[in-house]
Amino acid sequence: MRKALQLDIAGHRLFGTLHDRAPLPPQSGTTSERIGVLLMSFGQQPRSWVGDLGSSIADRLEEQGYPTFRFDMPGLGDSPGDIPVHLEELWRDILSGAHEVALHALCEDLVRRFSLKGLVVGGFCGGAVTALYAINSRSPQILGLVLLEPEIALVRTSSPSTAATPAPLTVDSTLEVLDILKTRICSLESWRRLLKGNSDLKFWGKLWYGLLDFTMRKLSNIGRRKKLLPPETNHRMLNAWLLARRLRIPTLVVSVGTPNRSKYYQAYGLQPGVADLKSALQWIEIPNTTHAMLTGGAKEAVGKYTEAWISENFPLGTSKR
């Protein structure tokens, strides 16, 4: 059974859907052992996703006994809000974390409102990136991640950023780092400010942290890969991924198993199709389908894998339904 939800979250009015076999009245002040699932759409797509993949996965999870939520982020689907004119600008904003604040607040609200033990957060494409950002809150309520066709690259656009949340300084390539350093080192004004103690230490701190992070990543890649990460790499997203793995958050990745898609992930230092038990990562590839994961039986397969993985990692036996 589906229930339409409208919640005031972080200054936005978000429209969503709850799939639950027997919707319980929201409780407050008590915590149950129930684990919910929150699925995020991507970009311009409403919360049922293309081909209604999102709603079909939610139907399956509901059948298994997991209350499953799907929400439209601000300005998308039924949720009011402003979005850019161009699609690529919208994508860029989302990949940079424009929905992160709303997502953190939404997760907290759902856990409290429906007295859940926690949430498994999942998403498709850029929605998977948003889902991954849930981990940045380091909330113990985020119990697992389901990343369907996660996008690692940032989108290049010909217009300035209109992201609601400014992205932190990231070091996208060696050339960019050198460029920033050269500008600062060659600037007399910069040295004068530094000697007077008026230098923007925050900038230098972030820059050196970025350089250190970059160098460490390069060093850690020795022997595994020879190429640098592509300049369009979404480092913020990869950092969240690394954090999830460090925290051993159970993570399921489902991606398209074509040679091109595999090469895409390999270019970013990932190993598609390879599970890593140490960091609780399972990665499944679905052959002979497209990015939308609908054709060639993929719609069914994605639902089955997700359902099986959630049942295995978060068995209902521990819940008090």
Binding site: Q44, V50, P80, H86, L294, K299
Partner: protein, 291 residues
């Protein structure tokens, strides 16, 4: 050519968006999802917005929601919904077809019409919604009919949507290489064809033969009354591109950097034109009602 995001500030200030409500209607043991956009202005009419075919729905959703909000800001109460088996409504896509989707429109129209105070009911369809609405209007449903981008027939619409299947096939090296006519032959042989995650059944294809736009002659008006207003709008290039995916991006300036696609262009010109026609039609319908 400059196109800035639509200015929704007037809507926010008047609080129309805060009043929007999503819920379900019960239809034959399934849940039919709808969103109601009430208005705080004096009520001019109620608009039932029947949307496009399942595979087009995700791509037309944002402009349709913006249009609904625009209308609410003009004094119209708007209801939009998902057909059974599609989007937020429950049911398996393959269990439904053009007849049941027509029943959905009728069901929503009855619900909307039962609200008070009484106001003219406007049936407004986009794509599939226009095709189905055409027949329902001629059967007497609603006071006014406005069609946007209607396909010539249901079969033509499905044939066009098969392009999606073709483009998917051509991106996969190991996929089958069938023509659209071969898929049609499969359907006529009784096979199911999956298109963009929805299973098309032979029944869907068979039913499609019975639906063509404008095939029903407008019924003769009662003596002393004029025909109920109906209109197939000619949308400008920007609205046609946004609502129908037809033609290139009209805002694209050659040599202006990477090509970008539109997701939320300013459609106020088309909205103003359509709204002006609706206002005129409501006045006319009001005259008919009084007569």
């Amino acid at each position: 050519m400059v196109n800035s995001p639509p200015n929704d500030s007037s809507m926010k200030q008047s609080g129309h968006e805060q009043l929007e409500q999503a819920d379900y209607l019960s239809v034959d043991r399934e849940q039919l999802y709808y969103v109601l956009h009430p208005t705080t202005l004096p009520l001019r009419g109620r608009v039932l917005l029947a949307g496009p075919f399942a595979s087009e729905r995700p791509h037309r959703y944002i402009p349709l929601v913006r249009w609904s909000r625009y209308l609410a800001n003009q004094g119209f109460e708007v209801m939009r919904f998902d057909h059974r088996g599609v989007g937020e409504s429950t049911g398996r896509f393959e269990d439904y077809g053009f007849q049941s989707w027509s029943d959905d429109i009728r069901h929503c129209a009855n619900w909307l019409q039962s609200r008070s105070p009484a106001a003219p009911l406007i049936l407004h369809g986009l794509g599939l919604g226009a095709l189905l609405g055409d027949r329902l209007f001629e059967q007497g449903l609603a006071d006014i009919f406005l069609a946007w981008l209607p396909p010539k027939s249901a079969r033509e619409m499905l044939y066009e949507q098969l392009k999606l299947k073709m483009s998917n096939n051509y991106t996969l090296p190991s996929s089958e290489r069938k023509t659209r006519d071969q898929y049609v032959a499969d359907l006529e042989r009784g096979e199911i064809v999956e298109v963009e995650g929805h299973n098309w059944t032979p029944r869907l294809w068979a039913e499609a033969a019975e639906y063509a736009f404008g095939e029903n002659n407008p019924s003769d008006p009662s003596p002393g009354t004029s025909p109920r207003p109906r209109h197939t709008a000619e949308l400008d290039a920007l609205a046609t591109h946004t609502f129908g995916g037809v033609g290139p991006n009209p805002l694209r300036v050659p040599g202006s950097g990477p090509a970008m696609r539109l997701v939320n262009p300013d459609l106020s010109q088309s909205f103003d034109t359509a709204s002006a026609w609706l206002n005129e039609a409501v006045s006319k319908a009001g005259g008919n009602r009084n007569a």
